[in-house]
C-alpha cells in the first residue's frame, strides 16, 4: 500500500507524477467539455470520433517514416488523429443531413469503417521495416510508461485550452443545448455552436489518446457529466462538477496504475470513474437510490397520515396500526384514538385540499399536472395562488370538522 500512497502524493517518481497531473488535467477537460455533449444528447457521436482517430495515427506514422523520420513525434501523430476524427464527425453529420438514416445508425457505420481502416493501417505499419513502430497499439488502450515531459506538456496545454474554451462558450452552448430554436431566434448560429462543442470534444479525445486510449476516452467524456448530474440541478454547476469528477478519476486512476507493475492507465482511470458513478448512484441526495428508498418510506408515512386525517374529517374510525402510530406521534390524536383540536384543524385543511384537487383535475386537462397529484404534495407547491383562488370560487366556504 505504501507505493499507492507514494503515488497519490506524487512521490513515486518523476514520470508517475507527470502522468498523474496530466491525467487529472485531461479528466477535468473531458468532464467539462463532455457536459455539453451530454446536455445536447449527442454522447455517442464522440465514440465515432474517437474510433475515427486511429487511421489518422497510422497515416501520420507512415507519412513521417516516408519522409525519413522515426515516426514517433506525439504532436504529429495527434495532428493526424485530429484530421481523421474531423472526417469521421463530418461523415456522421453528412449522413444524417442527406439521407434518411438516423444518427445512431450513422454513428455505427462511421465508427466501424474508420476503426477498420485504422486497424488495417496499423497492420501495414507493423510490416514496415523502417521506423520504430512499437507503441502505436498503445493508442488503443492508452499507455503512460515512458511518457516524456514534452508529451505531458502537450496534454496539459491541450486540456487547459479546452477548459478555457468551455468557460468562454458556456452560455451559448447551454442555450443551444436547452433550446436550439430559441437560440436561433436570438440570431445565434446554432450549427457553428454545435461544431464548437464537437471541436472541444475532439480536442479532448486527441489529447487523451496517449493516456486513456481511443477505446475508453468516451468514458472520460460521458461518465463525469453523468456523475455531476446526480448531484446538481444546475447546468453551470454541472460543468465544474463534471470537471472535478473527471479530474479526480484521472488523478486517482493514474496514481493507482503507477503503484503496481503493468497496471494499464486508461482502464484504471475508467474504473475509478465508474466507482464514483456507482457511489453517486447510491448516495446522491435527490436522484440517488438510497434517497429514493428513504423518500419511499417517508411517503408511506405521509400516505398513512393523510388517510388517517381524511378518516377524522369524515368521522370514520381508524384501525391500521401504522396510521395510528403516525398520527399519535404528531399529537393529532390522543392515545385512545380520539382526534385532538390540532388533529381536527389539519383534517379540515386536508379535506378541503382534496376537493381543490378534484376541481383542479376538471380545470386542468393536463397530463403533466395530474401526474403531480399524489394527495400529499401541498397544493400550494403545485399551483399558483391565482389558480387556487379559481378552485376556491368553485368550492364555496370552508367547512369545519366536528369532533
Amino acid at each position: 500500500m505504501t507505493s499507492l500512497f507514494d503515488a497519490l502524493l506524487l512521490q513515486s517518481g518523476y514520470n508517475a507524477a507527470l502522468v498523474a497531473i496530466g491525467a487529472a488535467l485531461l479528466g477535468f477537460a473531458g468532464g467539462a467539455a463532455g457536459t455539453f455533449l451530454f446536455l445536447r444528447k449527442r454522447a455517442l457521436v464522440s465514440d465515432a470520433m474517437a474510433h475515427a482517430t486511429l487511421p489518422g495515427v497510422g497515416l501520420a506514422f507512415i507519412l513521417m517514416v516516408a519522409l525519413g523520420g522515426d515516426g514517433r513525434s506525439l504532436p504529429i501523430l495527434l495532428a493526424g488523429s485530429a484530421v481523421t476524427a474531423i472526417l469521421g464527425l463530418l461523415a456522421v453529420d453528412w449522413i444524417v443531413r442527406h439521407t434518411r438514416l438516423p444518427e445512431d445508425a450513422a454513428i455505427g457505420a462511421v465508427l466501424s469503417v474508420f476503426f477498420g481502416i485504422g486497424v488495417v493501417l496499423l497492420t501495414v505499419v507493423q510490416t514496415m521495416s523502417a521506423g520504430r513502430q512499437a507503441g502505436l497499439e498503445d493508442f488503443l488502450l492508452g499507455a503512460t510508461a515512458g511518457m516524456l515531459f514534452a508529451d505531458a506538456m502537450t496534454i496539459a496545454t491541450g486540456g487547459g485550452l479546452a477548459v478555457l474554451a468551455v468557460w468562454l462558450l458556456r452560455r451559448p452552448m447551454t442555450l443551444v443545448a436547452f433550446d436550439a430554436e430559441y437560440a436561433a431566434s436570438l440570431g445565434l448560429d446554432t450549427r457553428r455552436i454545435d461544431l464548437a462543442i464537437m471541436a472541444l470534444v475532439m480536442a479532448v479525445t486527441v489529447v487523451g489518446l496517449k493516456i486513456v486510449g481511443l477505446v475508453m476516452i468516451v468514458a472520460l467524456l460521458i461518465i463525469p457529466p453523468v456523475i455531476a448530474r446526480f448531484w446538481t440541478d444546475r447546468s453551470g454547476r454541472m460543468i465544474w462538477g463534471a470537471g472535478l469528477a473527471g479530474g479526480l478519476s484521472g488523478y486517482l486512476g493514474a496514481a493507482i496504475s503507477a503503484s503496481a507493475q503493468d497496471l494499464p492507465t486508461g482502464p484504471i482511470i475508467v474504473l475509478v470513474a465508474s466507482a464514483l458513478f456507482f457511489l453517486s448512484l447510491l448516495l446522491a441526495p435527490v436522484r440517488g437510490v438510497l434517497a429514493a428508498l428513504i423518500r419511499h418510506l417517508r411517503f408511506q408515512a405521509r400516505v398513512h397520515r393523510r388517510q388517517g386525517l381524511l378518516a377524522i374529517a369524515r368521522g370514520e374510525p381508524i384501525h391500521d396500526p401504522l396510521t395510528l402510530r403516525v398520527l399519535r406521534r404528531e399529537g393529532l390524536i390522543r392515545p385512545d384514538g380520539v382526534a385532538t383540536d390540532a388533529g381536527r384543524g389539519v383534517a379540515a385543511k386536508i379535506a378541503r385540499d382534496e376537493r381543490r384537487w378534484d376541481i383542479a383535475r376538471e380545470v386542468h386537462q393536463d397530463a403533466g399536472l395530474t401526474g403531480r397529484y399524489d394527495g400529499l404534495t401541498p397544493i400550494e407547491e403545485v399551483f399558483t395562488s391565482d389558480e387556487i383562488a379559481l378552485f376556491d370560487r368553485h368550492l364555496g366556504a370552508p367547512r369545519p370538522v366536528r369532533g
Binding site: 452560455r171 442555450l175 430554436e181 430559441y182 447546468s235 393536463d366 403533466g368 399558483t384
Partner: protein
C-alpha cells in the same frame, strides 16, 4: 407653445393626410419552405401590423409553425425574405422575441426557472458579460408579470404545462422586444394560464407592441385577436378579424374538415 403642441395644432388644421405609413411589424414575401420535394409552405406573402394582435390560423400540417420559424430564420427557407419594422431580419434581432412550442425542449434539463428567464437577456449581457443583480431583478419582474414570482428557484422539471408556457413567455418578456412571436402559446394549458397569458399579450399590445401567435383554437380568434392570417401551405386570406375571419375563408382554409354549422358559428353570424 412647445413643439409637440405646435405639431398637433398644425396637424389638426390639415385634412387627414395619409401619415407616412408605419412599416408593418413583420412582412414576409414569397416564403417557400420544403422538406424534400413537397413544399410545407409555398410562396407565401404576409403582413402583420404593428401595435396589434395577429393570429396565424390553419389546419394541422398547414405549415403554421414552419411559416413562423422560416420567417425568423430558425429553419432554412427555399426562397423568400422577411422584414421586421421595415428592416432586414438580422438588423432587427433586438426587436423580436420568439416563444417556441413548450414541447420542443427537454424539461428535465438541469436549470432553474430564473436561469431560463435570464436566457432572454443573452443579447444584452453578451458572450462574456457578467450577470448582475439588475439582470436578476429584471428576470424576477418578468416572472411576476406571468404570475410565477414564487417559482424562480424551482427546477424546471417540476412545472406543469401551463407553468412551462408562462416561463417561456417570461423569457420573451425579458427581451423587451417590439414584436412577440408565439408558437401555439395556448396549446394544452389550463384556463388560469390561458387568462394570464392573454392578459400579458393584451398589455403588450396596449404598450404599442405587436403580437403574432400561431393559434389553433378557432373559437377564441374573435375575442383575442385583431388581425388574422389564414394559411394552408399557401396563403388563403389575411386582414382584420372582423372582415377576414368569415365562413367563406374558413371553408377555403379547412376544406371539408369543419362542419358547415360550426363554420357559421365561428364566423360570428357574418356568413
Amino acid at each position: 407653445m412647445d413643439a409637440a403642441t405646435l405639431s398637433l395644432a398644425t396637424e389638426a388644421g390639415r385634412p387627414p393626410l395619409a401619415a407616412p405609413a408605419a412599416p408593418p411589424a413583420l412582412a414576409v414575401r414569397g416564403l417557400t419552405v420544403s422538406y424534400g420535394q413537397s413544399p410545407a409552405v409555398f410562396s407565401v406573402d404576409a403582413t402583420f401590423p404593428a401595435a396589434a394582435m395577429s393570429a396565424i390560423v390553419g389546419p394541422n400540417g398547414a405549415g403554421k409553425s414552419t411559416f413562423l420559424k422560416a420567417a425568423l430564420g430558425i429553419i432554412p427557407r427555399l426562397s423568400g425574405e422577411a422584414t421586421v419594422f421595415g428592416r432586414p431580419l438580422d438588423e432587427a434581432r433586438d426587436r423580436i422575441a420568439y416563444v417556441p412550442q413548450r414541447a420542443s425542449v427537454d424539461w428535465d434539463f438541469p436549470t432553474s426557472v430564473l436561469d431560463v428567464v435570464l436566457m432572454g437577456l443573452y443579447r444584452r449581457v453578451g458572450l462574456l458579460g457578467r450577470i448582475t443583480g439588475s439582470h436578476r431583478t429584471t428576470a424576477r419582474d418578468c416572472l411576476v408579470r406571468v404570475g410565477m414570482a414564487d417559482f424562480a428557484d424551482r427546477q424546471i422539471g417540476q412545472l406543469s404545462g401551463g407553468q412551462q408556457q408562462r416561463v417561456f413567455l417570461a423569457r420573451a418578456l425579458a427581451q423587451d422586444a417590439d414584436l412577440y412571436l408565439l408558437d401555439e402559446p395556448f396549446a394544452g394549458v389550463d384556463a388560469a394560464t390561458e387568462r394570464a397569458i392573454i392578459d400579458v399579450l393584451k398589455g403588450l399590445r396596449g404598450e404599442g407592441r405587436a403580437v403574432v401567435a400561431v393559434h389553433h383554437d378557432l373559437s377564441t380568434v374573435r375575442s383575442y385577436f385583431d388581425h388574422v392570417f389564414l394559411i394552408n401551405v399557401r396563403r388563403i386570406a389575411e386582414g382584420p378579424v372582423a372582415t377576414t375571419f368569415t365562413a367563406e375563408t374558413l371553408q377555403q382554409t379547412y376544406g371539408g374538415r369543419l362542419a358547415t354549422g360550426h363554420v357559421a358559428e365561428l364566423a360570428g353570424g357574418i356568413a
